[in-house]
Amino acid sequence: VSRREQSPADEQRPLARFEVREESGVRTVRVHGEIDASNVAELRSATTKLSNEALGVVLDLDHAEYIDSATVRILFELRQRLARRGQILQVVSQRGSTVHRVLELTGFLDDGMPWPASVAEAAAAIHSRLAPDSARSA
């Protein structure tokens, strides 16, 4: 059983860092670190103000260490908002990770959402407006 490494220096760092990138109509937001009630607003602002022409958002949680219900609440809202505008949200997370588990536990994954295995796959899915079936078992 693996033990988590932790250092006191964690306290000094900002909880999370967001890398935002836009490429051919798809905004990719890569999250490093932890998101909770204290910094969830940063996630919200990183995912808003998307132009009408944009196809959708890829939220890359592969490098996120922690998310909680506050995060998931934003994801529900974001998905709804994007859907109203005909845009797509794709969330990338490592199966078996704690982040993935929270998404499962909150029912966010049960909403019939396609599940990409990587950012590239997620972007491709947005472009084709199709969910890649093979990714589910990846």
């Binding site: 932790q6 909770d36 009630a37 922690y66 909680d68 219900s69 506050a70 809202e77 704690t98 588990r101």
Partner: protein, 706 residues
């Protein structure tokens, strides 16, 4: 050798000549050696008597083989002169019988025969056990000298036997002396009075084969004797008394020596009680050292007249030794009791209760009264929640060392409470010792300040033995640290150096004084290694570990020096309240609470999944608590967590009012908590909301630390 010389030789011998009566008292034995003369001719016997008379030995005559054998039944002979030709049982046949008997097998036989005998006869004679052959008629001088050889041989043999007996007797005396010494052996000198008395009684009873024994000591004003210890038959209650001079036992107190009482009379309550359990005879001795009389030692037997006059003499000697042991124990106890009391009064009565730390300590006074005092330890909680652990040894012993130790302890506490770091405080103590005591005093001291929540520790050492850290897994290693000279000795201008180290959860810091590891003829390193080995095999419970250390390193032998031992363990588990946070009701507190519980779980060796579940639950609960507060910042909420053997218990309490979840996603937080925790309970009152939750762990992290 002339006859007179032989007689002179013989005069020196007065031991038993007859082995069949060897058990008889020494003064009963015959004073000469016997010679058996066997011949069927009376004139031959007379001739032999005439020839051998000058030897001065007892001559016994037998006129036939049969008569010779009869004589041999009752007497023992140095030599047998045996005529070969006799009617009836001949000489050879008689000799064969003599040789066949165990007792006479080695009795030398000289055959007497006619000089015209053929060699066949001679060989037959030797075969029959002859040692010599004398031809008739014999030359008197030759005959005498031949016989004398055997007489001398016999006497020498008897002498050897007597010596062996004397040796056996001497050995018996030595055994008795040894038993007597058992009443004054060195081991008794180290027994406390309570242990000494029964031991003396048991040994005395064994010495005199007595069935019961008792020891009475005088009371304060010396008028009554109080029964302090008994052995064997339960006749008397300890504590019962008899007046000095009353009855046999009361009278023995003033007697000059031990006295035996062959028949017990019920002339005192004490005697009546003894009599009631069947004690028939008594032996009692005064216990005295010089002019002072301490009490009476008595022995009792169920047999009348069990104790002889010799027993009484021996008992007097024994009582003298017992009295000395007793006197020693008493004065020793007084002196030692005084310093020990002082010393103990200066040590912390109980160690502070610290949730995250477990503390145990031992103080073992020196087995030698002159060496008690000077070792000390202390554990105090500092205002910044750190704990100060100190252990020291004031050079010297007795009252002076004990008071010096009190000074040091109080000064150290004062400096630390003023806010000085340990190294600063020790430097100041060094100055203090020099200014107050000048050259006259030295003391070693090791001080550790420890943050119970992080395990961060700082060590300052002034000439003290190193501290030992035992990991949660049981590996023991000394904290390597450059130590300075003891307080009051060096001349430094800078502060004492500090060593920083971390005490991980579940690990134990053991501090001690040199009395624990010092042994005569052994280097310090050997002692340190012995301790390291002992703790490696020690039990996990901290109190048990302290006991184990003392048992392994000191055992039953009296400690040569004082021993102080202080053990501190950062709790890995169960009891205590390892996490208690009061946080402002704002979202910034959410990660603080989460990280705190994560750290706690990590320290307990929880798995990543368990840690995540607790982080999630606490984080959600904290977020709820923050949300409940109407005016952020004005309120606080509380997070308490405890890792027990069966799981992790968390309580999150706020003072706000519960708001019903709104909208679709509102119940997400509590939903998550319920999914990752095994038990969740929410209580809402006007004063606030309390959320209690438990994460069960079948394989408790506290129990499965590697």
């Amino acid at each position: 050798m002339s006859a007179s010389e032989v007689a002179a030789d013989l005069a020196e011998l007065d031991g038993p000549t007859d082995r069949s009566t060897a058990a008889a008292p020494v003064d009963d034995v015959q004073s000469s050696t016997s010679i058996l003369l066997v011949d069927d001719h009376e004139e031959n016997l007379l001739a032999l008597e005439a020839v051998l008379e000058p030897l001065g030995q007892r001559l016994v005559c037998a006129r036939s083989g049969e008569e010779a054998l009869r004589k041999l039944l009752h007497d023992e002979f140095a030599v047998i002169l045996l005529d070969v030709r006799m009617p009836g049982m001949g000489g050879f046949e008689t000799a064969r019988y003599i040789n066949a008997r165990e007792r006479t097998r080695h009795t030398p036989i000289i055959f007497l025969t006619g000089h015209n005998v053929d060699t066949e006869y001679v060989f037959q004679g030797y075969e029959a056990g002859a040692v010599d052959y004398v031809l008739k008629p014999f030359e008197p001088a030759v005959m005498r000298s031949k016989v004398l050889v055997f007489v001398k041989l016999y006497q020498e043999r008897m002498q050897r036997i007597r010596e062996a007996e004397a040796r056996a007797q001497a050995e018996a005396v030595v055994t008795t002396v040894r038993k007597l010494q058992s009443l004054s052996d060195a081991a008794l000198a180290h027994l406390q009075l309570d242990e000494l008395l029964p031991e003396l009684l048991a040994r005395s009873a064994a010495l005199f084969d007595a069935e019961t024994a008792g020891l009475l000591l005088t009371d304060e004003d010396g008028t009554r004797l109080v029964l302090r210890a008994t052995y064997g038959l339960e006749a008397l209650e300890e504590g019962c008394t008899v007046s000095v001079g009353e009855g046999f036992i009361g009278g023995a107190f003033r007697a000059p020596a031990a006295v035996a009482l062959p028949h017990v009379a019920a002339d005192s309550a004490l005697h009546a009680s003894l009599s009631a359990v069947g004690v028939r005879s008594l032996l009692a001795a005064p216990l005295a050292v010089g002019d002072s009389r301490l009490g009476v030692l008595y022995l009792g037997s169920r047999q009348s007249d069990h104790f002889s006059a010799e027993d009484a003499e021996l008992m007097s000697l024994g009582a003298e030794r017992a009295a000395r042991a007793l006197d020693h124990a008493r004065s020793y106890e007084r002196e030692r009791g005084l310093v020990e009391m002082l010393q103990r009064s200066l040590l912390p009565e109980r160690l502070p209760e610290l949730g995250a730390l477990e503390l145990a300590a031992r103080y073992l006074p020196s087995g030698s009264a002159a060496k008690v005092g000077g070792d000390w330890y202390d554990a105090t909680l500092l205002p910044d929640q750190r704990v100060c652990l100190a252990i020291g040894d004031v050079v010297g012993h007795g009252v002076r060392a004990a008071t010096a130790m009190a000074e040091l302890r109080n000064a150290l506490r004062a400096y630390l409470l003023e806010g000085h770091a340990a190294a600063q405080a020790v430097s100041r103590l060094d100055d203090l010792v020099k200014s107050i005591h000048g050259e006259g005093m030295a003391a070693t001291l090791a001080v550790v300040t420890l943050d119970p929540s992080t395990g961060s520790a700082r060590l300052t050492n002034a000439g003290h033995v190193p501290a030992l850290v035992i990991s949660a897994g049981g590996d023991a290693d000394y904290v390597e640290h450059r130590s300075r000279t003891p307080l009051g000795v060096g001349s430094y201008t800078d502060e004492f150096p500090e060593l920083e180290f971390t005490l991980p959860p579940g690990s134990t810091l053991v501090m001690f004084t040199d009395g624990l590891i010092e042994r005569r003829g052994e280097s310090l390193d050997e002692g340190l290694e012995r301790l390291r080995q002992a703790v490696g095999e020690g039990p996990s419970d901290l109190e048990d570990l302290c006991t184990h250390i003392l048992t392994e390193l000191i055992g039953d032998r009296p400690a040569g020096d004082d021993v102080a031992l202080l053990a501190v363990r950062r709790r890995p588990s169960s009891s205590g309240n390892p996490l208690l946070l009061r946080l402002p009701a704002e979202t910034g507190s959410v990660p603080v609470a989460r990280h705190a519980i994560g750290k706690l779980l990590y320290e307990h060796g929880a798995t990543a999944d368990e840690t995540h579940a607790l982080e999630l639950a606490v984080s959600e609960a904290a977020a709820n608590a923050v949300e409940h507060a109407y005016d952020p910042g004005d309120h606080e909420f509380e997070v308490a967590a405890e890792v027990r053997t069966d799981g992790v218990y968390v309580t999150v309490r706020d003072s706000g009012r519960w708001r019903s979840p709104r909208g679709r996603a509102r119940g997400l937080g509590l939903g998550l908590i319920k999914q990752v925790m095994d038990e969740v309970d929410v209580q809402r009152t006007d004063n606030g909301t309390t959320l209690r939750m438990v994460k069960r762990m079948t394989d408790s992290p506290a129990a499965t630390r590697e």
